[in-house]
Amino acid sequence: MPQIFPPNANAFAKWAILGGGAFFVALIVALPIYARTMNNAVGVPVAQPVAFAHNLHTAQLGIDCRYCHTTVEVAASASVPPTETCMTCHSQVRVGAPQLAAVAASWATDTPIAWNRVHDLPDFAYFNHSAHVNNGVGCSSCHGRIDQMAGIWKNEPLSMGWCMDCHREPERFLRPRSEVFNMAYEPPFDNRPLGLELVAQYGISHEKLYQCSVCHR
């Protein structure tokens, strides 16, 4: 009976099995790495219709976060400021500057500026800004040093695992209420002793903090 396969078929079969196994292992290693790095868009600037510079307005001009993000202490959404907020200054300051053309157009035509979302949580996750800033989570804890950003980007992956880091052990990250809006706040090297004090002071319940229904309502 003639041979069906050439002699190198054996080598091919062996390498196919080995290669298949290696591919599978590589996939298992690569996918979690991909999900943690390239896929989370951390540090990737998001283009905006107006080149708004957070660093200029906050660190250099000294405007408080809450001047624009007015509802951060009282509502779920921190709120993106309307054009009116821009015009409180820019009706007087740098009127007609080319960088502000889109703001002026928005003001003239009475249409909101179409900002691009940077921090987009999935709809099934409930998030409340006021619950966080009133209980010792600083702006910079999640958003990073916005006061040093000329553009805007995510500083953290906003993955569930990242949320859970704090929801499991809030004492590692909490700061005094007075420091919440301080972008330059430096936590102590070991935040736990202070954190545990704050957990007690804010009345935070560890059990409640990692129940599903806290975020998935």
Partner: protein, 475 residues
Amino acid sequence: MAVRTPGRVVETNRVMGPGQTSGGIDDVVNTPVLVGPQRTPLWWWIGFSISGALLTLYLVSIVHLVTVGTGIFGNNSPVMWAMPIINFVWWIGIGHAGTLISAALLLFRQPWRTSINRFAEAMTIFAVVCAGLYPILHLGRPWVFYWLLPYPNTHGLFPNFRSPLDWDLFAISTYASVSILFWYIGLVPDLATLRDQAKSRFQKLFYGTLCLGWTGSARAWTRYMRAYILLAALSFPLVLSVHSTIAMDFAVSQVPGWNNTIMPPYFVAGAVFAGFAMVLILGIPLRRAFGFEKIITMRHLDNAAKLMLATGMIVVYGYFIEIFMAWYSGVEFEVFMAYNRVFGNYGWAFWLLILCNFVAIQPLWFRRVRQSPWALFLISIIVSIGMWLERFVIIVVSLTRDFLPSSWGNYTPTFWDWSLFAGSFGLFFTLFFLFIRLLPSIATAEMKELAHHDAHHGSDPWETIRPKYYGEGTR
């Protein structure tokens, strides 16, 4: 297509018809596999086309489900588990007879397993495929089903190992992988036979690739037999464990009618019961279509029917002990559940279930019925319907009337519930028709071993004990 001689088929009670030879087995089993496409029998094309049409319905249903969401089903509070879970349990149960035949009966050295194990194992795998898709499809977002797996995800969460739904995942995936491995290992020598007998270049390459370079040397056989026994030992516990795990989905919950310690053994018995019914539903037409009467003999049908009767009676015992325990427990919710099951607005389902699973199997006490393919085929279909009704009664009837009368409700399946169920038959039978066309549906290597034994030593100890019945060549 096997060449069928007209006239009466000679039936036998032996494990195989007398005078079987290795070549004869190859002729009967391998010839219909190796004939060219133009000589594929008409019945195959008809069956395959109907299955394909149903498979199309299945795919359409899945597309509709994924685009619209689980709202297309009739499931709603309080009946959150309905048709998808009923069908899941039904399909996974069917698989169990295949594993029992292939693994348990091999370890118990039952010679009558040999000719039915191959297609029963195939049935197991295809049933597990149909079953395994249901839990995934009835997730709200089926595309993230892999969240059930313990992998290094970015959620900071591991699956909840205390949840029976996660046990399901492991039970089904273990069952699927071990079943496929066992089936494939068993196929290897037969694939090599097909490779050697193949006529066309395509067939040579196809079977030559699949048989992994099997040489048939003594060393290969020794290792093969060792691997086969080891896999059988691995599969055997699965007969008991898989459906026990499925039963836990119900048993560990608090719903009256689910929270019973009897659930695991009762589910396992029900699974084997439904599985043997399916083996007969597939086996009876198969032996007729391919002319396997001397390989799948009356003895096989008889034994399968006996196992069906035995496991069926265990299941019936389960029905009555559930009612007894409801009364004996004195828990008012349990008592009401039992009353509602029997006399409630879904009482018809319970009585139909008793009719199908209890009354319909009673004729199996008689040998004449056990040896009548037509009667067995009919009873098997009734049993399959009965086992579906059993899951309907357990799942839907318990959920519609639980603790609070204010949260009682009713359940009506929608068109898509039924289309997905009908479609899963399309998936099952499409795979099965492809299997019987492309692969040997009888384990020829094992049959040849049995034929050798039969010729030289007699195949079966029963022949010496009851020579009048088993020893006779013909009936």
